[in-house]
């Protein structure tokens, strides 16, 4: 492991909030691209070596978290008691995770049913958040997933989401263009 990887690992270890790539690049006194490469390298090493920690990425921010396979064993220590999500909540969450940023109306359309209540419950649990507004009539609020979402489902990034079936993925892309 080179010096920069180790430095970033240490920084992320003591940080009590996610750090941005630009922030890390500045601290490491390296160009942004080099910082990003080092971070990717660090994340890969942690996973390949089967370590107890993983590097988690959301958009442009990074944080060190425990490995997903340790989740149930650590839950007891962390005294974490989360109530399970309902099927309706999971569906709405899946729509937002795969189609983000998207609006409430997008979720309603895919599910064919009003999703207002479940979306509010997801916001309350901080699994999703408002990420902006769509530049269309009414300027509807755009929703996206959070670090809490990645943490809850043990994903190191959105690339870790279960793959959608290819035909459906094509359809999703198609309707996303239309919407």
């Amino acid at each position: 492991m080179n010096d920069l990887d180790a430095y970033f690992e240490a920084l992320l270890f003591i940080a009590e909030r996610p750090l941005a790539t630009a922030e890390l690049a500045e601290l490491g006194e390296v160009p942004r691209l080099q910082a990003e490469a080092a971070l990717n390298d660090l994340g890969q090493r942690l996973a390949d070596d089967g370590r107890g920690l993983r590097l988690q990425r959301l958009d442009d921010e990074w944080q060190l978290v425990t490995a997903p396979q340790l989740g149930s064993r650590l839950a007891a220590y962390a005294a974490r008691q989360e109530s399970r999500l309902s099927n309706a909540a999971l569906e709405a969450l899946a729509v937002i995770a795969y189609r983000q940023p998207c609006t409430r109306a997008d979720v309603d359309r895919v599910r064919g049913v009003d999703s207002d209540y479940v979306i509010r419950s997801l916001l309350h649990r901080r699994l999703i958040t408002e990420v902006g507004r769509r530049d269309s009539p009414g300027r509807p609020i755009l929703l996206g997933t959070t670090f809490t979402f990645l943490e809850r489902f043990g994903l190191t990034s959105l690339d870790d989401l279960p793959p959608l079936s290819s035909e459906a993925a094509a359809l999703t892309a198609l309707t996303a263009d239309a919407g």
Binding site: R84, L90, A94, G112, F153, L164, A168, L171
Partner: protein, 251 residues
């Protein structure tokens, strides 16, 4: 709307679901198709109309969502009616209609199925793969002072404290109110004079007792609260400049 029972071509065996709650109308339609082991990609959706309506009639859905379920039911019924009408044009022509299009409904069904399956996977992961991040330590103090200070400054501060007159011995009886905030406000206003500004320390230097000093400071804060004056201090222990705001417009 009364519906005539129309025999359907699909497998007519009784259909029971283990769950009473559907996530929505597409969920119900999809489960009806899957329970019959039909292929979503090819099954004529019109054939599902009867099963769908029958299910809706027997197992009422929440009133709040009924409209959504009925909307899909009406689409299915329309698709079915098109099939039953003699001389109905080919399905390709149906897109020109303003009514629902079977392919559009199928597309929504497929999209819904993909996301539902992904949601199921997430549901299996829920509670078993959580990753934990460092929590902020509760014992941590808030922001430390911005500047580091030398021990000498502590000694100076102590000296300043010693210079303040000792409190007078407590009187044996009820203490008379000697100094009031109103009095000190008047004193500060007078001190600001026509220049409209004064260094607080110069006023404090004229104070006879600790009580008077603290009441004067309170009077200063009161002026700030009433938006009649601003206070500025450039550096630690530096002069505190009290400045009158505009004219006497406050309450």
């Amino acid at each position: 709307m009364p519906l005539e029972p129309i025999p359907i071509e699909a497998d007519p065996r009784p259909f029971e679901l283990s769950l009473d709650v559907f996530s929505g109308p597409l969920d119900l339609l999809l489960r009806l198709i899957e329970a019959r082991e039909l292929d979503v990609l090819t099954v004529p959706l019109s054939e599902m109309a009867d099963a769908y309506v029958e299910h809706l009639a027997n197992r009422p859905v929440p009133a709040a969502e009924l409209a959504d379920f009925v909307a899909v039911a009406s689409q299915l019924i329309l698709l079915k009616s098109r099939r039953l009408l003699p001389g109905e044009p080919q399905p390709a022509a149906a897109t020109a209609d303003e009514g629902p299009d079977e392919e559009e409904l199928r597309r929504r069904l497929l999209e819904y199925r993909a996301l539902r399956d992904a949601a199921r996977q997430l549901g299996e992961w829920d509670g078993s793969r959580e990753t934990f991040r460092r929590e902020p330590r509760e014992a941590d103090l808030p922001e430390a002072p911005a500047e580091t200070m030398s021990p000498a400054e502590l000694a100076i501060a102590l000296g300043r404290l010693a210079a303040i007159p000792e409190p007078e011995p407590p009187p044996p009886e009820v203490v008379a109110r000697e100094v009031t905030i109103a009095m000190q406000i008047a004193a500060l206003r007078q001190a600001m004079g026509s220049a409209g500004r004064v260094v607080l320390q110069t006023v404090l230097a004229g104070c006879a007792s600790r009580t008077e000093i603290s009441v004067t400071v309170l009077a200063m804060l009161e002026l700030v609260r009433r938006r009649q004056a601003t206070v500025e201090q450039q550096e630690l222990f530096g002069p505190i400049v009290l400045r009158r705001i505009g004219s006497e417009s406050g309450p």
